[in-house]
């Protein structure tokens, strides 16, 4: 029988449906009987959902307008070589 600690480390794989069926059933049964792990699972799902909404991204100082202009220039030169 799985304990709470095993359950925590597999929570990510459980949400990703990335587990062999026997393990998946084991976790499912643990979630049925353990309110804490069930709440933890819901919190974890909520975390994943929230992160995908907030969508944090890399801190970056690139001047994107300059980069776009540079690439436009590269494209122009590539085109004229054909």
């Amino acid at each position: 029988m799985l304990n709470c600690k095993d359950t925590v480390t597999e929570t990510s794989n459980y949400i990703n449906k990335d587990l062999p069926i026997s393990k998946r059933i084991g976790l499912f049964l643990h979630f049925m009987i353990c309110r804490c792990c069930r709440n933890y699972l819901r919190q974890f799902e909520k975390t994943v959902e929230t992160v995908s909404l907030v969508k944090p991204s890399e801190l970056d100082k690139t001047n994107k307008l300059d980069l776009a202009r540079l690439l436009q220039q590269v494209n122009k030169e590539t085109g004229s070589n054909h």
Partner: protein
Amino acid sequence: MKKFFDSKWADQKVLIGELIKGDPEAFKHVVEEYHNLMLSVARAIVGQSIADEVVQDAWISAIKALPQFEGRSSLKTWLIRIVSNGAKSRVRRENRYVSLDDGWEAVSADHFDHKGHRIDNIEAWDDNTPEAILANSQLQNIIEQAFQNLPAMQRATLTLSDMEGFKIDEICNILDISSSNARVLLHRARAAIHHSIEQYQDK
């Protein structure tokens, strides 16, 4: 406004056609849309210091190869592949070593007894709707901060998986790591962000 901007370029064929034609707006759009994602992949593979250079090289080779882009994958996947290949060959060429976790130590928020049973009590969170989450700037800041504190490999794994929808096996190829590493990194990243939200919820 954002919606209009997005929908205009939703059709990839149109976007690529406009890029080849040299439409400045199309270039602004792709840089805006994909630059940080490419940077995330490069930072994870080659490290912070030369990531900008690697991404810039990737952009240039992508634009040069654009007329040959056949649309068998999405533009996003194609750009990621180019930056990933560029970063990997840079690592090989220069014998660079970038650690998976940069000495990361996860703060474990969970407490168990010697049998592995929980001794802390996990309560359900307030059930916020997506709209409520997006209206909560304090929560957004907390998530943003927790994300920035993660090592680059974890940020990239989380970004590719939970924000960009890549599967674990695709992430392994992109970041050149084993699938068990990818799973561990993803779990650590999610757990760290979960922990920061938990502290906020407990207040």
